[in-house]
């Protein structure tokens, strides 16, 4: 992990009409770290991720990604620049198989046109084999060989989440945004998922930013944690620092009046 930020946000504010979702928040994500964003319900965590990958455009503030500063970025531009994400509610193609879903993650890296791909001939064929290989490595990595050809709609929720992670990894992202990757999972599934996130971070050097409610998991996984409450940043630091911060304790446990 280096000190160099991969992405930094300066004084970002986002409002929907009169509702302020994010107010004047600044923080950065360093190359190679696992960064957690936590906070009570409605704190603006998912909005924050949406700002990062260009789905929402903040009214104020700047986003610097890989040294380039901009205020507006479209989601497909974010994807092309190596930002991948998973969603709070699984967003997969339910009728397609695990393998095909993961293959869609390669879409941006396929260069041959639709015509060549449809013909599956010559360079397009070579390209597909190349991409299939990457996908198979991810399938092996996530230990989902047994469901390779199963339509994802038939899979239990925990596995769908894993497939979604697989699709994000297939983009070979520089920055991986995970929105509640462990929501609704049992303890064993959470442990598996944590293992895969840490392994992806170590083996592929993927920088990870994740939102998670399970504080135990967050403290175990992340290098640094940023805490939001009502759209404002109330703490930022290592898990131990954050745990000891009186503002955080007050936000989570309430304060004595």
């Amino acid at each position: 992990m280096s000190e160099e930020p991969l992405l930094s946000l300066q004084n970002v504010s986002l409002a929907f009409g009169g509702v302020k979702a994010i107010t004047d928040v600044s923080f950065d994500i360093r190359k190679g770290e696992i960064r957690a964003i936590i906070g009570p319900n409605g704190a603006g965590k998912t909005s924050m991720l949406n700002v990062v990958n260009g789905f929402y455009h903040p009214q104020a503030g700047e986003i610097t990604y890989q040294g380039k500063t901009r205020r507006r970025m479209k989601p497909h531009e974010a994807a092309a620049q190596g930002i991948a994400r998973t969603f709070q509610n699984v967003a997969l193609f339910k009728g397609m198989t695990t393998l095909d879903n993961i293959m869609t993650g390669r879409g941006l890296r396929m260069h041959r046109g639709l015509f060549w791909q449809a013909l599956r001939f010559g360079p397009a064929r070579r390209e597909e084999i190349e991409h299939r290989k990457v996908c198979e490595e991810i399938i092996d990595f996530l230990e989902i060989e047994a469901i390779r050809k199963t339509p994802v709609g038939k899979l239990p929720y925990g596995l769908q989440k894993r497939v979604e992670l697989g699709r994000a990894l297939a983009m070979e992202p520089k920055l991986l945004l995970l929105d509640e990757p462990m929501a609704g999972m049992n303890r064993e599934e959470k442990e598996d998922m944590s293992r895969f996130i840490v392994a992806a971070n170590r083996q592929f050097g993927t920088t990870v930013a994740l939102i998670e409610h399970d504080i135990g998991v967050v403290m175990d996984l992340s290098d640094r944690v940023v805490v939001l409450e009502y759209g404002r940043k109330i703490a930022d630091g290592t898990p131990d620092e954050v745990k000891a911060d009186p503002n955080v304790i007050a936000a989570y446990l309430g304060v004595a009046h």
Binding site: L99, R132, K133, E136, E137, I139, D140, E143, E145, A146, R148, K149, A199, R202
Partner: protein, 660 residues
């Protein structure tokens, strides 16, 4: 190549056999492995080269003749080659059950004293690292899959691929290559070839030492028996440490020269089976049962027309399939009808199950239900039964093509001598017979009879057609007070083949007659109750319903009818039974963790009910304080009516004790 030497002395060890295969059928496929979604194939030539490289690598790590080398993991070509590489050096491979916990492995390694351990992955490495401090013999642990191993720095760990690479470079030198040839030639057929540890379900596990020449002799007999050739193919999915894998895949594969395909993972085995389409296959009855359940469930969801089609042709199959599989004459119209069924139902179904190309399939290990067995046979699958054990290098008996029954395990396999002791125990002498238990001469002596037969510990009878029928563990077989042979498990199994009966406990040793405690299967009987408007709120209530008793009684009577047709068993028909008011449960100590009934324990806990059965009372009740395994105390309360099913061809029940 030196053909004279090859023919004179090339087939009494597995190392020589592998070399022979590389010479004779070098370009034929020997091993396959599905990796990254693709089947990768190694020919006998390639496998032989890799194995030599591994052997050189092991030798460089200090593995010598007579040393032991443990192997733990799933079925992977490199693990099979490791086994053969150790054998090349005259070292003795000890395959371990991959899913054993660390303590079990420690106990085995303590006895085996392994110098090297070859494991598949990080999971196994972790297990080994926890037990290494207590094992002084182990010098190195080699792992096949490097994944997740980056942060390990124990100096005893090394990647198997590195060992192969360094061995490959070294064995390329002419001098070392010749030395390797010499090592292979030095191996004698009488040397220990492998140590297979028994699974330990009937006591502590013992290391069964098998010699190369005996293993190969046994495999040769059965390869000829089933006409296996190098065009055959198997899916190697059974545990490495189990004799079945070492026999059916490794030994027979080396002798016949066929290809062993290794599945991608245990979870994908069913899918891989379909893709490979093996021609020779083994599965325990449990697996066949699960497959049938899956088919049944899917058919229940199918459209009415498909269901009708399936049922129609399955009835044709039941009527004629067996006769056709056995190549007996069949009326031409029936044959055409069956052929149509093949086209529409049987072949597509077999294809779905991965059974399309199977010529020979075996099942063994436990009793298989007649209906289940007939289902697969009638589809045209040549499913047969065998009986064996580790000490025999698997085969003791095996059914020949065309002489197959569901309730027997076949006549003695080629060159096996079989006999029954006075107490009914099956004893044998076989070509593959074990040498001894590793490091336990007193155990060896206990197992051998003075005249050199091996005691199996199983009780059986030999049927008029010469086929062996296994009844039960010999120590569980008893006699009724009139001297009638009483095999509880045999009777229990017959009852349990009915879907409505989940467990049965047969009692009768030293009693006047056989009585049975029965557990109904809540799911099956519950569904039946729903269909028939029988209401119930709990297991206990359902078990007490007279309609349910009537249903179970019909099953018991069917069992009695079947027993009455067997001369050895006719006197052991069930006279009285009751349905237990509580489900037997492993958590309460009533079943073992592998779901076998603990008969003696149950007889004690339910003593008042057992007394009721044998005293002639019309009902029995129980009310007792019991302590569960975890120390909790609870009350066991309930009552049950006692029922008297019809018996066939027996004198009326002795009524002397009905005084109560």
């Amino acid at each position: 190549m030196d053909a004279a030497r090859a023919s004179a002395n090339s087939d009494d060890t597995f190392a020589k056999l592998m070399r022979l295969n590389a010479w004779v059928r070098g370009e034929r496929p020997a091993f396959r492995l599905k990796e990254f979604g693709i089947w990768r194939t190694w020919t006998w030539n390639e496998a032989y080269r890799e194995t030599r490289a591994l052997a050189q690598g092991f030798a460089d790590l200090g593995l010598e003749r007579g040393d032991r080398m443990a192997v733990a993991g799933a079925n992977r070509p490199k693990l099979y080659w490791s086994i053969c590489a150790a054998q090349m050096l005259g070292a003795i491979p000890v395959p371990l059950y991959a899913d054993s916990v660390a303590e079990e492995i420690a106990a085995v390694l303590e006895v085996a004293g392994a110098k090297l351990i070859v494991v598949q992955d990080q999971e196994q490495v972790d297990k080994m690292l926890t037990i290494l401090p207590t094992l002084r013999s182990v010098e190195r642990v080699l792992y096949e899959e490097p994944r997740g191993m980056e942060d390990y720095d124990d100096p005893r760990l090394a990647a198997l691929d590195d060992v192969i690479a360094s061995g490959r470079a070294r064995v390329a030198e002419a001098k070392l290559s010749q030395a390797m040839d010499a090592r292979i030639d030095e191996g004698r057929g009488s040397d220990p070839s492998v140590i297979l540890f028994t699974s330990g379900t009937t006591g502590r596990s013992k290391g069964v030492v098998l010699s190369g020449e005996r293993c190969i002799a046994a495999a040769r007999d059965t390869v000829a028996f089933d006409n296996l050739t190098d065009r055959d193919e198997v899916l190697a999915y059974l545990p490495l440490a189990w004799v079945g894998d070492h026999y059916l895949n490794y030994a027979q594969g080396f002798v016949a020269g066929f290809c062993m395909a290794c599945p991608e993972s245990a979870a994908t085995a069913a899918e891989d089976l379909r893709e490979i389409g093996p021609t020779y296959h083994f599965a325990p009855p449990r697996v066949f049962e699960q497959l049938l359940t899956r088919v049944t469930i899917r058919m229940a969801d199918a459209s009415a027309f498909k269901r009708w089609l399936f049922q129609h042709f399955m009835s044709v199959a039941r009527r004629w399939g067996e006769t056709i599989v056995n190549r007996q004459p069949v009326p031409i119209l029936a044959r055409l009808h069956y052929m149509l069924g093949s086209l529409l139902i049987f072949e597509p179904l077999k294809n779905t199950l991965g059974f399309s190309r199977i010529r020979v399939a075996y099942t063994a290990g436990e009793a298989i239900g007649a209906d289940l067995f007939a289902f697969y046979r009638s589809l045209g699958l040549n499913l047969k039964q065998l009986y064996g054990q580790t000490e025999a290098f698997l085969y003791v008996t095996a059914q020949a093509d065309g002489a197959v029954r569901s309730d027997t395990v076949g006549p003695p396999a080629p060159n096996v001598v079989l006999r029954l002791a006075a107490d009914g125990e099956v004893q044998f002498k076989s070509p593959g017979q074990f040498v001894d238990y590793f490091g336990e001469p007193e155990k060896t002596a206990e197992t051998m009879t003075p005249d050199g037969f091996v005691r199996t510990g199983d009780a059986g009878v030999i049927e008029p057609d010469g086929q062996l029928k296994i009844l039960d563990r010999a120590k569980d077989v008893g006699r009724l007070s009139n001297g009638q042979l009483f095999a509880p498990k045999y009777i229990e199994n017959k009852l349990k083949f009915f879907a409505n009966i989940r467990e049965a406990v047969a009692l009768g040793d030293k009693h006047d007659f056989v009585a049975v405690l029965i557990n109904i299967e809540l799911v099956a009987v519950g569904a039946w109750a729903e269909r028939n408007g029988v209401s119930y709120a709990s297991y206990q209530e359902l078990a007490g319903r007279p309609e349910v008793a009537e249903l179970v009684k019909r099953h018991v009577e069917a069992v009695n009818k079947a027993l009455s047709q067997e001369p050895a068993m006719a006197g052991a028909q069930i006279r009285r039974f009751l349905i237990l008011p509580k489900e037997l449960d492993a958590d309460d100590g009533e079943l073992t963790r592998t779901q076998k009934v603990r008969r003696r324990f149950i007889a004690e806990r339910y003593a008042p009910m057992v007394e009721g059965l044998f005293s002639g009372a019309a009902e029995a009740s129980i009310s007792a304080e019991i302590t569960f395994e975890d120390g909790r105390k609870g009350r066991l309360e309930g009552r049950a009516l006692i029922h008297e099913p019809q018996t066939f061809g027996l004198a009326p029940m002795p009524r002397a004790r009905v005084a109560a």
